[in-house]
Symmetry: C2
Subunit: 369 residues, 2 copies
């Protein structure tokens, strides 16, 4: 079955809905933790679920290199391989080609992208067809089209050419697609240019994907540019399909995305922050390495209902981080993922009660104070 | 309350019994996983318990340096600090002074040991009184006397002097001891010399500790020497007190210890092996880094009832280890700890049914084949 989006209610442009998948129904808007190498770093699938997580994201590029899609296929697909029975979305590898390619050198041709492995420098060539073939074998619930994620501040001409090529790649990927149970999302690109975003959105929608993503956002540009990029894209997306803002996990960016009508978010932020000792709190981020937490026997965040906050103190987490004990990263990952997922729960409640804008303002005020 | 040992049954010298502590009763013989820095590496306390674990061990030396015993004390003691409500044993720091002291340089004087921190090279001075004071503050269920752990192949003269000093240190520690709820174990030393082991055992027992450990064993000497060291010591220990063979976690050594009447074992082996990709199996150790496991979709060990074996394949664990994902270490730690604890369960069953020697032989044959 392909995923199906059901719109339940709107509050302004913010949408409350359901995404039905082969591995269960999730309520949107929602946040997807990232399990790059078929594992949400430092966590068991049970720990991820305990955070209230629904869909998780895994990376085509990483799984292509290790262990290889054929091994995942032989294992019975990604769910079986990593022991996760909830929905899984795989990205296309497009973003990683651009962010991880060795020495950032890559050669983009019409056929695909030549680049070098970030692990051993081996020459690699990824095409839209290959990206789809890998994802078909990984057997995630949702596959993504292969796109070029262009750097911020790209010229109009470069962006225009890239956007057109990404459309051609989307078409080629869709034609190569061959997995009955899997869904395929298209990705809107177009950089920061209003007309190119519109063009990309309209042309992508014409191809009739199972859902639409907004790509190339929040990768270094200014906040207002980011927010405009969402606006330029989302207004051309159909109401009856899910909308996914790729790579966005900063709480305030999520709130802005929801305001504009986004249903799905993903980001490595909660787990990456955790590994560096950082925790989300309603009053902004804190770093547990800070000496002031040495004798702080309160939870990471008061009133948080996560496993870490219910059972451990800042002093203990600080101790673990100081001693380089992986349980520190585990506890902070649990807290940070739960933080974003709890926020999504509150966002959905607010939309239901037509007070999303008030919620957004209140959250922002507290968070930035 | 001090710990209380209850002997239920003997099969040869192997003992089946119970150890009553302030944090529950555990059945012996048993294996204690090690949580050096107030965390069993890569695991939550719930995961440790799921392995069937009772007592865990934590390290006085490490906790003295980080976070410091006063912080643990202010947190309400070690149980509270690390969220573990089962029994905890703390070692005295003696072994770490000798194994971890920076550049292995140390200066042993009658008063204690001068050495340098393995973290920052800071000058440190640990005495029997200080070791006990730290442990009193950590508030573990069982504290250990401060001893000198001498290198294998020490001369008779060195060993004799050291053994006598360790006895004086034990006495000083016992006098300094000040925690009503905590128990204190003495440690038998004496190197590989029969008369010194006997002397050390008899003199330590005279001081009337709550339990007795055999120290300085399995730190590099030959198997038969190790086994003799146990024999030279254990025959002088009282039947009504628990006996603890320190730092022993190799399955065959545990079996030998049980045969001679040991009740308690601890070792970093299961978690350390795990971090290097190794797993215990009934047919000996395997290394999951081995290419042959790439497409092996069977569990780490067939018929194992641990969380890792019930839910994951060798291929997946190998993938995690290859990608340096900490979940790999978590899964292997769970398996390895469960392996030893399951073995202890079987050992207890065998003692109950008067077939311990058969069990030992069968296990050994399979394990070394």
């Amino acid at each position: 079955m392909k995923v199906k989006y059901e719109l339940d209610k709107k509050d302004g442009n913010a949408r409350l809905g359901k995404l039905h998948t082969n591995h269960g129904t999730v309520i949107t808007p929602m946040f997807m933790p990232v399990g790059t190498c078929a594992t949400v770093k430092t966590l068991t699938p049970e720990q991820v679920k305990e955070c209230g997580s629904g869909v998780i994201l895994s990376n085509t590029y990483h799984l292509w290199l290790r262990p290889g899609e054929d091994i995942v296929d032989k294992a019975g697909g990604l769910h079986q391989f990593m022991n996760y029975d909830g929905p899984i979305l795989t990205d296309s590898g497009g973003f990683q080609v651009f962010s991880l390619a060795k020495n950032k050198k890559k050669d983009i041709v019409e056929e695909g992208v030549h680049f070098k492995s970030h692990i051993d420098g081996k020459k690699l060539f990824l095409t839209p067809e290959l990206s789809i073939e890998i994802q078909n074998k990984l057997d995630s619930d949702i596959a993504m089209s292969f796109d070029e994620c262009i750097p911020p501040n790209s010229t109009y001409e470069y962006t225009k050419n890239s956007t057109e090529r990404t459309l051609r790649w989307a078409k080629r990927g869709k034609e190569a697609f061959n997995n009955e149970k899997q869904s395929l999302f298209g990705i809107v690109q177009g950089g920061s240019f209003e007309d190119l975003r519109k063009y990309s959105a309209l042309e992508t929608v014409k191809m009739d994907f199972d859902g639409y993503a907004i790509g190339g956002v929040a990768i270094g540009e200014e906040k207002d540019v980011t927010y405009n990029m969402i606006d330029y894209s989302i207004k051309y997306l159909p109401e009856d399909k899910p909308r996914y803002l790729m790579g966005v996990g900063e709480p305030l960016d999520i709130l802005e995305g929801v305001k504009q009508g986004v249903d799905m978010f993903d980001c490595v932020l909660p787990t990456r922050l955790a590994r560096h000792g950082n925790a989300f709190t309603r009053e902004g981020k804190i770093n547990l390495k800070n000496a002031k937490f040495k004798e702080d026997f309160t939870p990471i965040e008061n009133d948080c209902d996560c496993y870490a906050c219910k059972n451990y103190t800042k002093a203990y987490v600080k101790h673990l981080i100081t001693c380089n004990e992986s349980l520190g990263g585990t506890l902070l990952s649990i807290h940070n993922i739960r933080f974003l997922i709890k926020m999504m729960e509150e966002i959905r409640e607010a939309i239901k009660e037509d007070r999303f804008i008030e919620y957004k303002e209140e959250f922002t005020k507290k968070y930035t104070n």
